[in-house]
C-alpha cells in the first residue's frame, strides 16, 4: 500500500495543534520508522491513517485515493486493509489467544476453516503456535505483544502500523519484535513503526521520519 501525506494538519477541538504541514510519501513495500518525543504527534499521525481521527487540513492519499472521500460507512473496510499494533496490546482477556487473533477474520466474515488455517499461520510466524489455547493474561509481555502482531497480520494487510510496539520490552525482546516487522516487510507489506527508541531505530537501517511538535523535521536515512 502506498501512502502520501500532503501538508496534513490536525487541530483537536481543544485547540491543540497536533500536526501541521506534514508531508511525506511512503512507497508500496517500504519500511520506515516514525520517531520524535512523546507528544510530537506520532500517535496522531497513525490515527489519521487508521481513520480514527480525520485531518483538519491537507490530503492523505492511500494508493492514490484521498481518505477524505471515504464515507463513515467505508471506514471499516479501510481498517481491514491496515494492520495495527499498539503498545498496550489491546487484547481481550475474556478469550483465548486463538480467538484474539481470529477477531479480524471473524469481523470480515471469513469461514471457519479459513480462520483456523490463517490464525495458526499467523501464530506460527510470531512463534506462538503452541499457545493458541492460552488466555493472553497467562503470557509474558513480549508474548502478548506478539499476539497483537499476529492479530495485526492475520488479515494479510497491505499496511502494517505499530505505535511504540516495544515500549514495555527489554532490548532483546524489542529487537525480536522489530525483526518480525522486517520479515513482514520483506514479503511486500508497507510498514510504519512509531518508536522513540532511537538506538534501536538506528540499528534497523531504514528510513526515519522525525516529528517535532507536530512538524516533520527530518525525512531521510537512519541517523
Amino acid at each position: 500500500m502506498e501512502i502520501e501525506f500532503q501538508r496534513v494538519g490536525k487541530k483537536y477541538d481543544s485547540g491543540q495543534e497536533a500536526l501541521s504541514q506534514v508531508s511525506f510519501h511512503l512507497q508500496q513495500g517500504e519500511m520506515a520508522f516514525l520517531t520524535g518525543h512523546s507528544g510530537a504527534g506520532k500517535s496522531t499521525l497513525l490515527k489519521l491513517m487508521m481513520m480514527i481521527e480525520r485531518q483538519s487540513s491537507g490530503n492523505i492519499l492511500v494508493d492514490g485515493g484521498d481518505l477524505r472521500n471515504l464515507s463513515k460507512k467505508m471506514v471499516p473496510e479501510h481498517r481491514r486493509r491496515v494492520g495495527v499494533v499498539f503498545q498496550n496490546h489491546q487484547l481481550l482477556f475474556d478469550r483465548s489467544v486463538f480467538h484474539n487473533v481470529a477477531l479480524p477474520l471473524q469481523v470480515s466474515g471469513a469461514d471457519h476453516a479459513q480462520i483456523g488455517k490463517r490464525v495458526r499461520a499467523a501464530l506460527d510466524k510470531v512463534g506462538l503456535l503452541g499457545k493458541e489455547k492460552y488466555n493472553p493474561m497467562a503470557l509474558s509481555g513480549g508474548e502478548q505483544q506478539r499476539i497483537g502482531i499476529a492479530r495485526a497480520v492475520v488479515n494479510k494487510p497491505q499496511l502494517l502500523l505499530a505505535d511504540e510496539p516495544t515500549g514495555n520490552l527489554d532490548p532483546k525482546l524489542s529487537a525480536e519484535i522489530m525483526n518480525l516487522f522486517q520479515e513482514f516487510n520483506h514479503v511486500g507489506v508497507t510498514v510504519l513503526v512509531a518508536s522513540h527508541d532511537l538506538a534501536l531505530v538506528a540499528r534497523m537501517r531504514h528510513r526515519v521520519l522525525t516529528l517535532n511538535q507536530g512538524r516533520m523535521v527530518n525525512d531521510g536515512g537512519f541517523s
Binding site: 501538508r7 487508521m50 484521498d66 486493509r81 481481550l92 469481523v107 466474515g109
Partner: protein, 344 residues
C-alpha cells in the same frame, strides 16, 4: 467528527493545488476487499451470533434471570387481563334471553288503529310475535304491582297508553344488541308510537363495561410494553458498556457497526422470546389454578360454559410480540450506545 478548517485556507500555491486535484477525486483502491454477498456465509454468521448471544446471557445467569422475570411479569399482566376479558365475553355470549321491545302508543289512539299496527308489526320478518296490552290490562297490572289501587280508582280516566309488546326474532346477546337497537328505533319512528323501549339495559351496561375493560387492557398493555422496551434497553445498554473494550477492538480491526450491533440485538431477541415464554407459562399456570373454583361457580349456575386460557395460536402471537419488543428495545439502546463508543 471534529470541525476542520477549510483546506483552501492553507497557504499554498494555486499551481500545486491544481496538480493534486485530479488525484484527490479518486477513492482508495478497493479491489481487494469488496466481497460479493454470500447468503450461506451470512446465515452461518447469524446462526453463530444467535448461539453466542445465548452464551452471553448464560454468563450472567442471575442478572439475566431477573431481567427475564421482570419482562415476564410485565407481559403476563396484560396477557392475564386479556384471558379474563375473553372469558367474560364468552360467558355473556352464551347468555341468551328473550328480548322485548315495548311500544307505548299515543293515548288518543283508538283500539282499532292499535290493533292494525299490531298486525302490521307481527307480519315483519324480524319479529316473532306481538302481544297487545290494552289500557285496562295495563291498569290492572299496574294496580297489582304498585299497590296504589285506591288512588288509581279515584282518577277520572285511565291515564295509561296502549302497549304493544314486540318479541323480536333475535334474542338478546352482545352481538345482537345493535340489530335490536335499530329495530327499536325503526318501530319508534311509526307515527302511532310515542316511545319504544328495549328491555336490555343490563346488557347494554355490560357491553359498555366490557368496552371500557377492553380499552383499559389496551392502555395497560401499551404502558407495560413501553416498560419492557425500557427494561430491555437498559439491560442491553449495560451489556454494551460492560463490553466496551471488545467494541473498541472490533472497531479497530474493521468491524462494521452492523456486525457489532448484531449480538446485542439477538440478546434483546432472546430476552423478548424467553420473557414471553415465561409470561405464557405464568398465565397458563394461573388459569389452571383458578379453574377449580371457577368451575364450581359455573356449576352453581348450571351453565355449560367452558373456561378457556391461552390457545396455541395466542401463545405464538404472544411470543412474536415479545420477540419484537425485545429486539426493538435492544435496537434503540444499541444504536445510541455503539456510536457513543469511539476509538481515541
Amino acid at each position: 467528527m471534529s470541525a476542520r478548517p477549510n483546506t483552501n485556507k492553507a497557504p499554498q500555491r494555486g499551481a500545486t493545488r491544481q496538480a493534486n486535484q485530479p488525484v484527490n477525486t479518486q477513492k482508495p483502491n478497493q479491489k481487494a476487499k469488496r466481497q460479493p454477498f454470500n447468503l450461506s456465509q451470512h446465515l452461518r454468521q447469524h446462526q453463530a451470533v444467535l448461539m453466542e448471544s445465548v452464551v452471553r446471557l448464560m454468563n450472567y445467569p442471575m442478572a439475566s434471570f431477573m431481567t427475564l422475570m421482570v419482562i415476564a411479569i410485565a407481559l403476563s399482566l396484560p396477557g392475564g387481563l386479556y384471558v379474563m376479558l375473553k372469558n367474560v365475553q364468552s360467558v355473556t355470549d352464551q347468555w341468551e334471553q328473550q328480548s322485548v321491545i315495548s311500544l307505548y302508543l299515543f293515548s288518543e289512539l283508538e283500539d282499532t288503529q292499535a290493533l292494525a299496527l299490531s298486525h302490521q308489526i307481527s307480519a315483519r320478518d324480524d319479529v316473532r310475535s306481538v302481544s297487545y296490552v290494552s289500557k285496562e290490562e295495563g291498569l290492572r297490572y299496574f294496580e297489582q304491582v304498585s299497590g296504589y289501587e285506591q288512588i288509581l280508582s279515584s282518577l277520572p280516566e285511565n291515564p295509561l297508553p296502549i302497549v304493544l309488546q314486540v318479541i323480536p326474532m333475535e334474542t338478546v346477546q352482545l352481538d345482537t344488541l345493535d340489530i335490536l337497537e335499530s329495530l327499536r328505533i325503526e318501530l319508534e319512528e311509526q307515527e302511532q308510537v310515542e316511545y319504544a323501549e328495549l328491555d336490555a339495559q343490563w346488557l347494554q351496561r355490560l357491553a359498555s363495561f366490557l368496552s371500557f375493560g377492553e380499552r383499559f387492557v389496551y392502555a395497560l398493555s401499551s404502558l407495560l410494553v413501553i416498560a419492557v422496551l425500557l427494561i430491555v434497553g437498559n439491560t442491553i445498554r449495560m451489556a454494551v458498556e460492560s463490553r466496551r473494550d471488545e467494541v473498541l477492538v472490533m472497531k479497530l480491526v474493521g468491524a462494521t457497526d452492523a456486525y457489532i450491533r448484531r449480538p446485542f440485538l439477538y440478546m434483546g431477541f432472546w430476552f423478548g422470546v424467553l420473557g414471553g415464554l415465561c409470561a405464557c407459562i405464568c398465565i397458563l399456570a394461573v388459569s389452571f389454578w383458578v379453574s377449580g373454583p371457577a368451575m364450581q361457580l359455573i356449576d352453581l349456575y348450571h351453565s355449560d360454559f367452558q373456561l378457556t386460557s391461552f390457545s396455541a395460536s395466542e401463545v405464538v402471537v404472544c411470543l412474536t410480540i415479545s420477540a419484537i419488543i425485545g429486539t426493538l428495545g435492544a435496537w434503540i439502546a444499541v444504536n445510541k450506545h455503539i456510536s457513543d463508543i469511539e476509538l481515541q
